[in-house]
């Protein structure tokens, strides 16, 4: 036994020598710690950091690549302690009001005016607006848009043509096409979307809800989800879901993606720039040349795609605000945005990259994406958005699996949202 303990102790001491960590305090040098996302966002961020380091060797980086949920938990808990651990953080736009209201973020208007600059006019308006608080065009700027995600709509051109349908402009027209293809085409479902509880199903539902003229909370702060528009939208959504695959109530992005790539669905009312990049790649996709990505149909209102911006912000407690701000401008500059889009498909937050022909050949849907971004609707600005989203997500799912009728679901969620924001 003694031998074992001695061995363990020696091992631990030896290891602790290099586990103790390296001290990073060399004079003049700055290390920027970035709390960012994983996947393509992470690769883009890493590339930008490497490029910046090459230009400014005195600045080094520590880039954290986290899933959306982990990023949120880690940054909220750390920012609360105000220790200045992070110099740049990414924020999913619906969560931004929480960070902004808590005054955890550095005011970029101040930093811009210190440098005698102004925020570039090329940024896409709805994307930039999510960085402002209050949520107005002249609200204080608390970040810059890093990735301009927007929900898009995909359909199978070959199948639509085969059964004599044209590109859907209105949701109500779409239903017939979905129904026909679902019934007649073997091995193809009419539609596929994310039916999983919480955020996924809400994301799928909102463009329909908005197009039907619905609003979760109106401008004067009343809960208006249980309106005629809301009911019409939900009934439509339920009608549409009849032509979805078995078990759609548990579908997440991965399943939707697989279905679209494998060609087992005629319509996907919710696709994201982040995963449609390989649609024209015959090694991964069996629908090369058969899928068209467009902006959503409208209904009473015009097309209302949902935007999801990843905001890059500087925590107020950061000890390297100047350096962080300089990097932030580099990160969101035209050149960098183009390069990130080119290498990793990171959706640009500026207008100009979308008009670049080299990027358009790679991503033929870019004009549609820019159009969608400019028409984009942001999710309800509320510090309680996460709770609202979860409640709405549960109610929608209950309706989807038939535990509640559309009316009951809306009554329930209306009551719950009222309790949350009271």
């Amino acid at each position: 036994m003694k031998k074992l303990i001695v061995f363990t102790m020696v091992f631990l001491t030896a290891f602790s020598l290099f586990a103790g960590g390296k001290s990073e305090k060399e004079t003049g040098n700055v290390m920027l710690t970035i709390a960012g996302r994983d996947g393509a966002y992470g690769d883009s961020m890493q590339m930008a950091a490497d490029a910046y380091h090459e230009k400014h060797p005195e600045v080094t980086f520590e880039v954290l690549k986290l899933s959306g949920g982990s990023l949120y938990e880690k940054t909220v808990i750390d920012l609360k302690s105000k220790t200045g651990t992070y110099d740049i953080i990414l924020i999913d736009d619906p969560n931004a009001p929480q960070y902004q209201q808590a005054k955890w973020l550095a005011d970029l208007d101040v930093l811009y005016s210190e440098e005698g600059k102004k925020v570039d006019a090329d940024f896409i308006k709805p994307a930039l607006k999510t960085c402002r608080f209050p949520y107005k065009d002249d609200g204080t700027l608390y970040g810059l848009p890093f990735a301009g995600n927007v929900e898009l709509f995909a359909y199978r051109t070959d199948l639509f043509e085969k059964y004599g349908f044209s590109e859907p402009v209105k949701w109500s027209e779409l239903l017939k096409a979905v129904k026909t293809i679902d019934e007649k085409e073997n091995g193809v479902n009419g539609v596929v979307f994310r039916g999983s509880k919480g955020n996924p199903i809400v994301t799928g539902f909102l463009p329909i809800f908005w197009a039907f003229g619905g609003k979760i909370i109106d401008d004067s702060g009343n809960v208006t989800i249980n309106s005629k528009a809301g009911l019409d939208a939900l009934n439509y959504f339920l009608e549409l879901s009849k032509y979805a695959p078995e078990g759609v109530a548990m579908y997440q992005s991965a399943q939707v993606k697989d279905a679209v790539y494998a060609g087992t669905a005629a319509v996907a009312p919710e696709v994201w720039p982040g995963w449609i990049g390989d649609l024209e790649n015959p090694e991964k996709s069996s629908v090369v040349g058969k899928v068209k990505v467009i902006k959503h149909p409208g209904e009473i209102e015009k097309s209302s795609p949902m935007i999801g911006i990843w905001i890059a912000a500087i925590p107020e407690a950061s000890k390297n605000k100047k350096a962080a701000f300089d990097f932030l401008q580099f990160l969101t500059s035209y050149d960098m945005q183009v390069e990130m889009a080119d290498k990793f498909g990171n959706p640009p937050t500026r207008q100009k990259p979308y008009t670049l022909s080299s990027l358009q050949t790679k991503s033929p849907w870019y004009p549609a994406q820019l159009d969608a971004l400019n028409n984009g609707v942001a999710r309800t600005r509320s510090t309680d958005w996460k709770q609202i989203e979860d409640k709405l997500g549960s109610a929608l799912q209950f309706a989807l699996i038939g535990d509640l009728t559309a009316e009951e679901a809306l009554i329930q969620v209306e009551k719950e949202i009222k309790t949350i924001i009271k």
Binding site: E73, K80, A102, E246, G247, K386, D390, Q397
Partner: protein, 291 residues
């Protein structure tokens, strides 16, 4: 007991327990008191404002339909998984009590699932359970039956999660029982053999009474762990379909780390604590009894 009577015997025991006690005090007193304290406050994590709320958090949690459902689900999960794991584990331990060829190999296989990362376990079961391309449904439909909605049918999802937990954690009960049985003095068995007792039945009869306190211990530890069910739900169903796999830990996680309603999360934790503690009381009494 005889030790105690001895002069100055106590000092030794105080000295050997002190490090653990002091360490636990340093590490846990503040966090636990903090949980109790926050459960009585309406605490806005972002702005930092705290307002005394009395038992409002508790009332909200108990009155929340989602919590009630989550609680029932957790009970179902905890009771069935615990009972299944402990009985299967004990049974396995009896099988492994005798010597046989390849025992070591079989033993390694049996405890393997427990060593896998929970995330990987969930990932492989998600493939196996997949409605369209999963192997289980492939087997089911090739034997001419309707495919099963393992994770997508609201009546089936919880059962599927229970199966995964049994698969992963039966080895826990097995190892403890195996360890406990191997410390039973062999004389007892030799005596039994001389008496002509040789079947498993007699083995059960002789050993089970000796193993009671171990069995109660595993029951308690597994009850606690299964009550904390979170990872599997998070990875397999996110609480769906509907609310069929919502659990209290998932509820607390959402209140705590998603909405940062620390007051409500604390209150919910303490409600759960109270229930598990009263549950465990049965076991604890049994374990303490012999004194």
């Amino acid at each position: 007991m005889k030790f105690v009577k001895e002069k100055n015997g106590g000092i030794f025991f105080y000295m050997i327990i002190a490090p653990a006690v002091l360490f636990m005090i340093w590490l846990t007193v503040y966090p636990v008191i903090n949980v109790i304290y926050l459960s009585f406050f309406d605490y806005d994590f972002f702005s930092g404002t705290k307002n005394f709320a009395g038992i409002e958090n508790y009332l909200q949690v108990i009155g929340d339909k989602l919590f009630q459902r989550a609680f029932l689900n957790t009970m179902v999960f905890s009771v069935s998984a615990t009972i299944a794991e402990v009985s299967l584990g004990t049974l396995l331990a009896f099988i492994f009590y005798r010597q046989f060829r390849g025992k070591k190999l079989f033993m390694t296989i049996v405890i393997f699932p427990m060593m896998l990362s929970t995330m990987v376990v969930c990932a492989v079961w998600r493939i196996l359970y997949h409605y369209d391309i999963g192997l289980l449904n492939y087997l089911v439909s090739s034997s001419g039956l309707e495919p099963v909605g393992w994770l997508i049918n609201k009546n089936m999802a919880m059962i599927s999660i229970i199966i995964v937990d049994i698969w992963q954690w039966t080895p826990f009960a097995f190892i403890i029982m195996n360890a406990a049985m191997s410390s039973i003095p062999s004389e007892i068995f030799e005596a039994a053999q001389i008496d002509g007792a040789g079947s498993f039945k007699t083995a059960f009869k002789i050993t089970l009474p000796i193993l009671t306190s171990q069995i109660f211990l595993i029951l308690m530890l597994r009850t606690i762990d299964t009550f904390k069910l979170f990872g599997k739900v998070y990875a397999l169903t996110q609480g769906g379909p509907g609310n069929s796999t919502e659990t209290v830990s998932y509820y607390i996680y959402r209140e705590g780390f998603s909405y940062f309603n620390m007051g409500k999360a604390s209150a919910a934790s303490l409600c759960v604590l109270l229930v598990i503690a009263s549950f465990s009381f049965i076991y604890i009494r049994q374990i303490f009894q012999e004194d």
